[in-house]
């Protein structure tokens, strides 16, 4: 499995988040793609859809399973990655390089609830 990038933040749902101003870019981690197996379908929300913390904003499907994507931050969708919707296998090939959605955050202070790379690494070690 590839290294956990230092410059990103993480959730217990195995998502990565990158922050620029009040915009959060969300993806799934290498751990997530590896446990899902071959990803064959990705469904992402429409632009401007608003989400609360913990809402499901989409799904990723493998051959045998459906997994919800949960947002750790409240906000509304600025952009979605249509390339990943068209070629879901990109998530298997490069999870940290394939973002899913960009959210305009409602409350940027929520970023404090996310884990840094070191914490996430420990979390994975204790939960696998």
């Amino acid at each position: 499995m590839s290294k956990i990038p230092e410059n990103l933040l993480y959730t217990e749902e195995h998502e990565w988040i990158s922050i620029e101003g009040d915009v959060a870019t969300i993806g799934i981690t290498d751990f997530a793609q590896s446990s899902l197996g071959d990803i064959v379908f990705v469904e992402l929300p429409e632009i401007e859809t608003a989400f609360d913390t913990g809402d499901s904003f989409g799904v990723v499907e493998s051959i045998k399973s459906v997994s919800d994507l949960y947002t750790p931050l409240a906000g509304s969708v600025l952009e979605k990655n249509e390339e990943v919707e068209e070629s879901p296998e990109k998530l298997n090939e490069n999870a940290f390089g394939s973002w899913l959605v960009k959210l305009k955050m409602k409350d940027p202070s929520q970023v404090e609830n996310l884990m840094d790379a070191k914490k996430y690494e420990n979390f994975c070690a204790n939960n696998s």
Partner: protein
């Protein structure tokens, strides 16, 4: 939770494990898609040691089994196997199983793991008046399925005693307390064998096959394989509340044979449900999703759904209510609130290579 004799091998191979029928079973070893393709194109093997084995011995063994099953077991020759539902008097399905005719007075039933106790209690309760002896050897037996076009070649290399027997027949290798049985049966639609035997023998065979590069496959791949060829799964297509006539299993109910449990009820019954096979151009149907018609009426539910590895499309078996279903209307599967067009499909989604 119970473990099969091959559990240590699954751990060595790094399999993902999950509970299935009370056992900790391998769901996937490396990659589900590659496991499915190994079985379709070459050879793969499954640990299915969780399944149950009952033995029925005695002068009336065949008569008794024929009375229990809806399919015709008495017509089968010795060394033949027959797939059949096991029904109650009201026609509801207790389980589906394969009955193996080991001799004129000796039968083995292979039943689903989750139903071992239910089936056993049922069969014991029906034995009165029949000259039969029943033994539940589920704990003594290990079972692996070696499946795929190259299964005979791979097995012959490991076990020279194996003969090229026809599909749905069997060969007894060793007649002892726990006879070793090779059966040309399986749950993938491909040519293949199921090998029943004591743990030590089956573990040895499994190791030999691993060394000759037979791909170990998990229950995840098995589920995709059986859905692609439209084999029903107990608890999904068939269950305690429905009859074989409502689950696409009419071919397994032989009204022409003498009395069997459930015959009277099934003869009188008018099926409430139909089993449909659906292919989607887009979207992946899953168990429990609604099937709706073009007028927006919900007509039934998906009982099994997945992406087909071979078709690369979503495929499903669905149970629709006859009273609500109009075959001239287009159908859709509702996936997370959105309707995806579903085309009815005749016959299996994939043609397996079994003989």
């Amino acid at each position: 939770m119970k473990k099969t004799a091959l559990y240590p091998s699954h751990i060595d191979l790094g399999a993902k494990l999950a509970e299935f029928g009370g056992y900790k079973m391998p769901i996937q070893y490396s990659n589900l898609k590659q496991e499915v393709l190994a079985v379709r194109n070459s050879v793969g093997m499954f640990d299915v040691g969780h399944m149950g084995e009952f033995f029925i011995k005695g002068a009336e063994a065949i008569k008794f089994v024929d009375f229990l099953l809806t399919n015709d077991f008495s017509a089968a020759a010795v060394n033949k196997a027959v797939y059949s539902p096991l029904c109650r008097e009201d026609g509801s399905v207790i389980d589906d199983l394969i009955a193996y005719k080991l001799a004129e007075d000796f039968v083995m039933l292979c039943v689903n793991a989750a139903n071992i106790e239910k089936d056993w209690n049922w069969i014991v309760s029906k034995k009165e008046g029949f000259q039969v002896e029943l033994t539940n050897k589920s704990e003594d037996y290990s079972l692996i399925a070696v499946q795929g076009p190259k299964s005979l070649a791979a097995l012959k290399e490991a076990e020279s005693a194996l003969e090229d027997i026809p599909y749905y027949s069997l060969q007894i290798k060793e007649n002892g307390q726990t006879p070793i049985i090779f059966a040309r049966t399986g749950y993938t639609g491909e040519d293949g064998f199921e090998i029943f035997g004591p743990a030590a023998y089956v573990m040895g065979l499994w190791s030999k096959l691993l060394k000759s590069d037979v791909t170990p496959c998990g229950l995840g791949a098995r589920d995709v394989l059986r859905l692609e060829v439209c084999f029903p799964l107990y608890g999904q297509e068939i269950d305690d509340q429905t009859t074989p006539l409502e689950s696409g299993l009419k071919w397994t109910v032989k009204f022409s044979k003498p009395d069997f449990i459930g015959k009277a009820a099934l003869e009188k019954s008018s099926p409430r449900f139909l089993n449909l096979k659906l292919v989607l151009d887009k979207g992946i149907p899953r168990k429990g999703y609604d099937v709706v018609d073009q007028d927006g009426n919900s007509v039934g539910k998906v009982t099994s759904g997945s992406l087909s590895v071979i078709l690369e499309k979503g495929v499903a078996m669905a149970r629709v209510e006859k009273a609500k279903y109009n075959s001239s209307l287009e159908l859709f599967v509702n996936i997370r609130g959105k309707n995806y067009r579903a085309k009815r499909h005749k016959g299996p989604f994939v043609n397996g290579g079994h003989k």
